[in-house]
Assembly symmetry: C2
Homo-oligomer: 396 residues x 2
């Protein structure tokens, strides 16, 4: 009797979500409290979010009809990922579907060339950049951008370090151009910023224009993948924190973003913040907020796309550290609980129901407290234990 037909619930609008990853899964936790039903367009019947959302349809985000079907009868359409055609979204918007964020905003998180041009026109501080057509353009670009190394990025389709190359010379750029050629996209060349660290600022914005800004966090990347987040960013001056939040809020407003916007930034050695990437959905740099903020980014994303007043983005502890659980040697993550929970009754674990593959994000852990070094060590130990990289003696 699994899969009995459900009636529409008694109260509130339904939110359609494109994409069945862990972001949609964590949205469901917030949706349960709100009493707001989600309807999912999932890649397959057993993906992360489809395990926990009864009203799931299987279909591709690239299939206009599938997206149209999932949106039908829902109050709004939102996203677990950005891999949805701008053209399809414009079609749906013209048909009356409330896409949040809308196609004109979302394109800035889909196409890095569009994003760079727009941010430049707004005088938002960014790394120096050029669109390059071919290997032959590269030396000229390097000269304009302050020389090699350069960071090359496909303008569309990259994420979690994919579609990004650091090159020391034009000769090293061949793979990037082959990849871009296959994908039919341009190459964005950027100066390699001499940064102290990476920061991120998550904000939520509603169609009415209300905004909420989370504390600026430090984001530690490994191999291009967000690995560890410390909230708030340790030792960040008030001035720089305010500047980073203002940039994120300004981008959200100018681009008419609805829902959560994550702005990844570089903190440079000479005291500037430069915008690196944009994401228009709940973001890994905001996962700490589930256990660490008054309102999680997932709840505020839903409240924003529904145009409900936003919740407080204030941190609940002095320090909150989130560490991703990456797939490693441990095949059955569940067994890790026996050690991790026994060792640390205060640790919060989130496993995504995904099968373990090396380097795949399969969960995250969060610790909070007053002593940053202890909090960080606890979170690292727990995440490492699930990944199979941590012994009992480590991380104490």
């Amino acid at each position: 009797m699994t899969g009995v037909p459900r009636q529409t619930p008694v109260d509130g609008p339904t939110v359609a979500v494109v994409g069945g990853g862990q972001l949609a899964r964590m949205m469901q936790q917030a949706a349960i409290a709100l009493g707001v039903p989600l309807r999912l367009l999932a890649e397959a019947s057993d993906v992360s979010a489809a395990q926990v959302i009864p009203d799931a349809q299987v279909g591709a985000a690239s299939d206009l009809d599938a997206v149209r079907r999932v949106a039908d009868g829902c109050a709004v359409l939102t996203f677990d990922h950005e891999h949805v055609s701008t053209e399809h979204l414009r079609t749906l918007a013209a048909e009356g579907v409330a896409c949040r964020p809308g196609p004109s905003a979302l394109v800035h998180a889909q196409d890095k060339a569009v994003m760079r041009r727009r941010l430049a026109s707004l005088d938002v501080p960014c790394p120096r950049w050029r669109i390059v057509e071919s290997e032959a353009d590269l030396n000229a670009a390097a000269e304009a951008l302050g020389g090699y190394p350069l960071v090359l990025k496909t303008t569309r389709g990259g994420y979690d370090g994919r579609g990004v190359w650091v090159v020391e010379s034009a000769a090293q750029s061949q793979r990037a151009f082959v990849a871009a050629g296959i994908a039919g996209v341009e190459i964005l060349a950027e100066e390699r910023v001499d940064f102290v660290r990476e920061l991120a600022c998550v904000v939520a914005r509603s169609p009415s224009g209300q905004t909420a800004a989370y504390p600026v966090v430090e984001s530690v990347q490994r191999d291009g993948i967000c690995h560890e987040v410390v909230a708030p960013a340790p030792g960040l001056g008030e001035d720089l924190a305010v500047r980073a939040q203002r940039i994120a809020l300004r981008v959200a407003g100018e681009l008419d973003v609805t829902g959560v916007l994550a702005v990844e930034m570089f903190e440079t050695r000479d005291g500037r913040v430069l915008v690196n990437e944009l994401a228009m959905r709940p973001h890994n740099s905001g996962h700490w907020s589930i256990d660490g903020a008054v309102t999680s980014q997932f709840e505020n994303h839903l409240r924003a796309v529904l145009d409900l007043p936003l919740g407080s983005a204030r941190a609940r502890a002095q320090w909150t550290v989130m560490v991703n659980v990456l797939g490693g040697d441990v095949e059955r993550l569940y067994d890790g609980y026996l050690h991790v929970y026994a060792r640390d009754p205060g640790i919060k674990v989130h496993l995504y129901g995904k099968s373990v593959r090396p380097g795949r994000k399969v969960g995250h852990v969060t610790a909070h407290g007053d002593d940053l070094e202890q909090v960080r060590a606890r979170a690292r130990h727990a995440a490492g234990w699930f990944a199979g990289t941590e012994d009992e003696e480590d991380g104490q």
Copy 2:
């Protein structure tokens, strides 16, 4: 394509839950983080928990075959309510189903006569009580219990104030005996305790015997229904708090409870705590823990029944106040968000997806902070707004 068949997830055991109310619904939020799938036996396809748990079967908790089917292949069987036959659970236990709590424990939350006899044998402080067979017994019972008024309770089947009568004389007891006669149960007569207030202590206990005790809370009842909970109980002396927690932990241990046990108590004018009721599942007096404790009672219930190490039951704020949202004049609860969220960005709202009926528990709200009076006013205002009993001027 709603209701596509789901594969069993890649990791971890499945927990079967009997009953599709808000407790099972809130268990799902914890289960999502744990990566533990729930399988639900729901009263109907659209009840509160069935709206958010994909693997739901429709059937009656009184139907042995339905319970057997939902338990099949699950690691453990647990409960959203206590209305499951002890005999059925003994049958299932004999067939190898891990019922948590087990039938021998659960019967103490199902049958108040069994509970009183057992607690008496353990010298756990309780109100004075007698089982009465008929109206004719009542005057003798009143004499033994210190006179009228007496509290009469059907030994089985009562909850939220149903099956409870306060009588001033034998003549007033007719309805109680009629109800008990129809239900085929006994009547428990208890002294009416001269209490200062009601307290509750929620504890979790695992099959291995590990326990975690939440702070003792003050529980404010209205018409026999838990209405407001303040965590921790204001002004409760350390001595009495420890005594209340020890009682709850001792009951959990002696009765071999697995999962969450809620012990409702009276604080008497002469400084004693007396056990009023037991519940062996997450309980209304523990809802504050979702937003107010390091580990919610729902997460600890699941961790306990799975015999995983328990999480910290520590409060995260100085004061957390939970107020139930009861059905009132407002038909579409969702619309209340516009006011409630705009007025108080720190309020946490939980709506259960239930249709509004007068007095029905349809949600709860939680506020936390340092100033008890402010926190209480915020929670009362929000809950009252959803119930339609609060104007904008109230509760400021």
